[in-house]
Structures are given as structure tokens and as C-alpha cells.
Amino acid sequence: MLEKELEKNTVNVRALMKNSSDLTMKYAKAGGVNVCVISCDGQIDTNRLANLVYRPLSGIDPEICDPRRIAAMISGELLIAGDEKPVESPEEIVAAVTAGFCVILIDGVEKGWAIGIQGFETRSVTQPENHRNIRGSREGFVEALHTNMSLVRRRVKSPELVLTTMTVGKTSRTEICVCRMDSLSDRKLADEVIRRLETLPLSLLLESGFVQPFLENRHPLFSEVGATERPDVFVSKLYEGRIGVIIDGSPFALFVPKLFTENFIMLDDYVEKPVFALFIRLIRYMAFLISILLPGFYAALANFHPELIPDALLRNLAAAESLTPYSVLTECVILDIFYEIMREAGLRLPSNVGHAVSIVGGIVIGDIVVSAGLVGAPMLLAIAIASISGYIVSDLGNQISLMRFVFILAGGLFGLFGLTVAAFMLCVSVCSAESYGMPFTSPLSPFSARAMRDTFARISWRKLARTDPDIFENGGDENE
């Protein structure tokens, strides 16, 4: 609790902050009473501090010497900053100051006032890097929570949108905002999300990815928590009854639950004609299957079932294979690992060096390896097509890489039989995942005819608009 003496309070705060260098304390007189304005260097906007705090304080009549009168003026009469809350302990002062508030302490009053004048440097709102689209907003989430909250609020100016902030992480004390649409979302789901966030055992939260595992249901491969950089996508998910979580310091907002089919749905599908949406979604599903299965399927066919390959193609493949020293499986594994190495290298390097990687990769892998007779051209093509297809479903990039490798081994070692067993086990594994009671694979299995309005095809907006989207209704039909 705060003491009456100003000096004791400031000493306590300084001790709590371990005399940190960025702690600033400005002693002054408001009226006839000693006050202290505590803030954290770099967290506040100095202009706002001068205009919204110093100027009103210095304007108080010097005749007024009653600390309680001054306190009353600060808390009620004076037009100080809008964001204002009382603080009653040194710990609260420290929390407020580190969050970009300044705290006014008055000598003789056992209470302080935290005034919101945050003004740290932030990145401006820019186009998101990962989830680009052709039509639609160019705004992406940034690191600052309140900016992100405003981006969301700007899109839904209705009391339906409920934003609840909370602080998690013992050390980092990161602010988190839980968003939901009041009448569309399931209250139990929201409570469950909030419960999980409140019991988060982490002390340091640097990215939304730190929170994600605690919202998931421990499936080894797929995440039932979606992440997006786009406020418009985020809002559309909220509108489908999902619960959103924005974490201070991360430009990726999370939403739960997420279904498998959502990986294949992009915002662009909704601004194009439905027929294009259908076409492009089917292409995405096909690309996903090609990406994980093609090299494994190729290895299986070439090693075990050549009779399945059309004659002319079989002759070409055999001719290409006759030039290479390695077996089909070895080639497949080598190329896939090469590709993963190049991808990882290209991802981490600065963009100007990244070009070098792509040039070296393109020339070395694309040309020399084939002409040197190390790897057959058809195999290279299979891996190249598979890897390019993998980029189409960018949210599943990591899973695709891993699955592709497993299928290469299964197909290359045991043929289609191995591929079948691996694919079946994967299928069972994915089907066993449930996200907050929703089967991860719905509405495909359990099948819901109603949800097919917006799964492979996307029916016209006129028809979609007739009913409000409700994932629980869609996914929960359970074949009924």
C-alpha cells in the first residue's frame, strides 16, 4: 500500500524498479502541494506529458494547499488525459509505468493516478507479408496491441464486438486482448479460452506462437489454432463465431477453433465470382495432395508398380533413370533434402543474399545435377512441382514438408502398400483431432451438406447473405 509521505513512496518505487535507469521522477508543486510525476523513459509521449499533465498541474491555484483538494481536482475536475486510473500500491505503479503510463503521486495522499500517455515507437500499419491478396484491405496487424484493437474495431462498429484485455506472463506482463462477437460466439468457448490464458504458465511472452500451444489440443502435426496477419480475415473469423486473441508485441492474431478446410480458403475467394472461387479452391486442394503425395507416389510407382505408368511416359522415365547412378528412392530423398535446405537458407538470409541462394539453387540443382547425371530430370520435376504446390497452401508449409518426406520413405520402401498405410494413418490421425469439441476435419468428415455452401464451392453472396454464418451449426451437423 502507498504511504502518506511522498518521499517514502518514491523510494519504494525506485527500490522495486531496482533503480532502473529509464525510470524518471519529476518533483514539482501543484498548488501548494508537493507532487511527483513518475514515468518510464521511452514509453511515453513527452508532448502529451507536457500538455496533458504538466500544464494542468502547473495551472492549479498556488493558494490551494490541501492535498485532498488537489487529489479531487486530478481525479475529477481537471481535464487531464482520458485514460486515467487510480493506483494504490508501488507494484501497481511499476506495472502502470512500464506499460507507458505516467503516475502522479501527491504528498499526503495514499493514492496515485496513472495517466495513459503511451508514446513509444511503433511500426506503422503496412501490408502483411504472408497473407497477401489481390483485392481487399492493404492493412496488416502491427506489434502494438492497441493499434491492432483499433484495426479490428474500425471494421465492426457495433457493441456486438466485445474486446476484453488481460495481462499474462509474470515477467513480461504482456497485454492480451480476447475478441468475440457477443451473440454469434459460444460463451463456453470464450470462457474456456480465457481460462486457458489466465492459467498460462509462461513468464515471458514474445510472440503469439508462445500462446498458441496452450490453446491447442496437442495434435502432433496440425494446429487447431489459426493465425492471421490480416484484420479483415480476423474479423471475418470472429463473425463466424470464433474467439480471437491478439497479443501485444505480435503482428499475428490467433483465432480458435480452426478447421482443416480453412487452410484452403482465402479472402480473395469472396471478392471474385463464385465460379472462380470454386476453381481456385479445387486447385488448392489438388496442389496440397500433389505436394505431399507426388514424390512418394512417383517413387512407389517407379520402384514397385511401373505397369501403372502410361507406356510412353514409362519409356521416358526408364530412359532418364538409366543415366543416373542412384536408385529412385535415393534420388528422391537427396533432392527433397536439398530443396528443404535451400528453402531454409532462402528464408533466413537477408533478401539481397537470398537471391544468390535462388540463383545457385536454380542453376546447380536445376541444370548441373541433371546434366551431370546425378539425378533424373523427371524426379527433379516431381520434386519441383511438389514444392511449388506446397507454397499454395502456405499455412500448412511445415506439415507438407514433413508429410512429403514420410510419404517418400513409405512409397519408396514399400510401394503403394506403404503409401496406403502411411496415408491411412495420417488420415486417422487428422480425423482424431478435435478443436474445442469441433472435429478438425469437419465439414468433410463428419460431412455436412449445408457447409458445402462454402467449402469447395463458395455460393453467391446473395445466397450466403440470407443466413448468418455459424461454424457450429455447419461443422456440428455430424451427418445428421
Binding site: 505408368i309 514399400f414 491411412f424 486417422v428 480425423c431 469439441g437 456440428g476
Partner: protein
């Protein structure tokens, strides 16, 4: 949102049961051939009518018992009865599961997967089966549903590709070409419908209106099998009676240009269907053990033991063909009829016992 979250509905189960039924239609036991002729249509339709007729009393008895599963109704009142029913059904399920393993092994090893040695076949299928059982019945049914969708796509593809080869003039007006053998054929067809028993045993795992399951499964399987028979007859004609696996041959002659033939994909679907079918029998066994012997948590372990035992038994049948011959006879002599009837008798007996008890209670 479905109030019983996590449970798959009756239609999903029915689709998977139908897939499982069509599996035993496609992966014929060695030495069993499908006869060419119009009689087969009659036999298929009659066998499903018979299946429906067998299921109706069970359905009524279940409804009378206030919706409790037939197994619960049969075993809830008398330990002796419950133990007897449990033991007989366990033997029957083990037999069905072993038969499934055998079918799958013969099918895979005499078709596209001939390169997989028998031991590896059972090891890999066993791994898939244990994994599937560990993931639970809902995951199995969902995965099976996807496999069923894959089968339907394959069937549509085969039909489209073979459209020019279909010769409808091979169909002719006849109900029974050789009436003497009709009864045997109907019984044989009916014997493949072990899923009817699954409808009764897995009653509690089905979400929504459980009763609908069998009424979707029966017409669905019947329609698909009649359509497959239509394809067999019109594409292969007399050759049909010489083919080991007609559906496999259908996919073998389907040249989709992208692939020279699609029999590899066909076998992929049936191997998955075999794993699903084995898993379903395992779940049914678990349910039986749990209900009839009040096994509780031990039932899960029993399930794994059952799965392993079923595969070992299949391996045994593969290794000793002299054991297999009597099994084939049993397979085609209407054993499912006996099992479902046993269940029905047990439900009725349990009902009678309960009424007796109630009457006594009223008197006292």
C-alpha cells in the same frame, strides 16, 4: 452444435458400414467367384431384404427397451445370459476379423501389392490397425468416411472411363437363371453382411438417431452392389465367372490416360477399408467386453489383444490352407444370421426376465 460433441452421426456410420460391406464384396475369398447372369441381381436384392427382415425385430426390441443398445438390453439383467452372449459374440467377432484380414491379404498379395511379403503385410496392417484403435472410434469412422468418399469417386471414374465398354444388351429379362442355386447365393450374399451386427453392437457410439443407421446402410450398400453387378455383367459378360476379383479387373481395364490403369488406387482403398473394418470389429469387441463382462478400463487392452489375435489368426489361415477351407464354408452359410438372431433372442429373453421381475415386485 451437436450436443453429443465428438460423436459421429448415423449417416456417417452407415456410409462406413457400407464401405466395409462392399469390401467383402470386392475382396472375395479365394475360390469364391461371382456368377455371371441376372440371378446375381436377384440374389443381392433378396439378401438385403433378408438383412432388413432380420434387423426389424431387433430394431423393435431396441425401441421397446427405451433406446438402450441391444447389447445392454441383452446383458443388463442376467449375468449368465450376459456371459453367454458375450462369449458367442466374441468368437463370432474374432472370426469376422480374421476373415477380414485374410480377405485383405489375399486381395492385396494377388493383385497390385504382390511384392509385399506376407509378414510385412500383416506387420504394416497391424501397425495401422493398432494406431487406428488407439485413436478411437470417431476418428476411425471419420477416416472411413473419407475412404468411402474415395471409393465413390473411384467408382464414378471407372464408370466414366468404361462407358464405351458397357454393353447393355448383355442384360436380359430373367430373375433366376438357375433357381436351384438361388437360395445358396442369397445366403452367401447375406453372410457378407456382418455389418448388421456392428449396427447393433456399436449402437452406443452412434450420435443422433442410432436407429437410422441400419436403414441407411442396407439400401446404400444394396444400391452400390447392384450397380457394381451391373458393371460386371455389362463389361465382362461371361468372363465374369472366371475372374478372381471382378472389381480389381474393372479398375485394371480403366485407362484414365494420366495413369495406365487405376488398379493401384483401387487396392489402396480396399487396404484402408480392411483396416477400418478390422478396427470396427475391434471396437465392437471392446463394447461387448465392456457391456457383457463389465470389463471397464481393461476393455481397451483387451481390444489391442483382440486386434493382434485376429491378425495372427489370419496369418495362420494364410499359412495353413487346410484350415481355410472349413472357414470358407462357415463364411458362406449365414453365420451373421445366427449372430443377429442370437442377439435378438437375448434381447427378448432379457425383456422377459425383466417383466418377470417386475411382476414379482408388484406381487410382493
Amino acid at each position: 452444435m451437436n450436443k453429443k460433441t465428438g460423436l459421429t452421426g448415423a449417416a456417417g456410420f452407415a456410409a462406413v458400414f457400407a464401405l466395409s460391406r462392399i469390401f467383402s464384396e470386392t475382396a472375395l475369398l479365394p475360390g469364391v467367384y461371382i456368377e455371371y447372369g441376372m440371378q446375381r441381381f436377384t440374389a443381392v436384392i433378396l439378401s438385403f431384404l433378408l438383412a432388413a427382415a432380420v434387423y426389424i425385430p431387433l430394431h423393435i426390441a431396441t425401441a421397446k427397451n427405451g433406446g438402450a443398445s441391444p447389447l445392454e438390453a441383452a446383458s443388463g439383467h442376467n449375468k449368465m445370459l450376459s456371459g453367454f452372449v458375450g462369449a458367442v459374440i466374441t468368437v463370432y467377432l474374432l472370426f469376422c476379423a480374421a476373415e477380414t484380414g485374410l480377405r485383405a491379404h489375399y486381395y492385396a498379395s494377388s493383385t497390385a501389392f504382390d511384392s509385399a511379403p506376407s509378414a510385412y503385410f500383416y506387420i504394416l496392417i497391424g501397425a495401422a490397425l493398432l494406431f487406428t484403435v488407439s485413436r478411437g472410434i470417431n476418428a476411425t469412422v471419420r477416416a472411413g468416411f473419407l475412404a468411402a468418399a474415395g471409393f465413390l469417386l473411384l467408382l464414378a471414374l471407372i464408370t466414366a472411363v468404361l462407358l464405351p465398354d458397357i454393353k447393355p444388351d448383355r442384360l436380359y429379362p430373367s430373375l433366376a437363371d438357375s433357381p436351384d442355386s438361388l437360395a445358396g447365393e442369397v445366403l452367401d450374399e447375406f453372410s457378407r453382411s456382418s455389418e448388421l451386427l456392428l449396427c447393433a453392437l456399436l449402437y452406443g457410439s452412434i450420435g443422433g438417431r442410432q436407429g437410422r443407421c441400419a436403414w441407411i446402410y442396407i439400401p446404400l450398400s444394396c444400391a452400390v452392389i447392384v450397380f457394381m453387378t451391373f458393371l460386371y455383367n455389362t463389361v465382362f459378360g461371361r468372363l465374369l465367372s472366371l475372374l478372381d476379383y471382378p472389381f480389381y479387373t474393372l479398375s485394371s481395364v480403366s485407362d484414365i490416360t494420366l495413369l495406365h490403369r487405376i488398379n493401384g488406387i483401387d487396392v489402396m482403398i480396399w487396404v484402408s477399408a480392411a483396416a477400418v473394418r478390422l478396427a470396427l470389429f475391434t471396437f465392437a469387441f471392446r463394447e461387448t467386453v465392456r457391456t457383457c463382462f463389465s470389463a471397464g478400463k481393461a476393455a481397451d487392452i483387451c481390444g489391442y489383444v483382440f486386434a493382434a489375435a485376429a491378425l495372427l489368426l489370419s496369418e495362420l489361415f494364410t499359412a495353413y490352407p487346410e484350415l481355410y477351407e472349413p472357414m470358407k464354408t462357415v463364411c458362406s452359410s449365414g453365420v451373421p444370421l445366427a449372430a443377429v438372431l442370437l442377439l435378438l433372442a437375448a434381447v427378448s429373453a432379457a425383456g422377459a426376465l425383466r417383466r418377470n421381475k417386475e411382476r414379482k415386485a408388484v406381487r410382493t
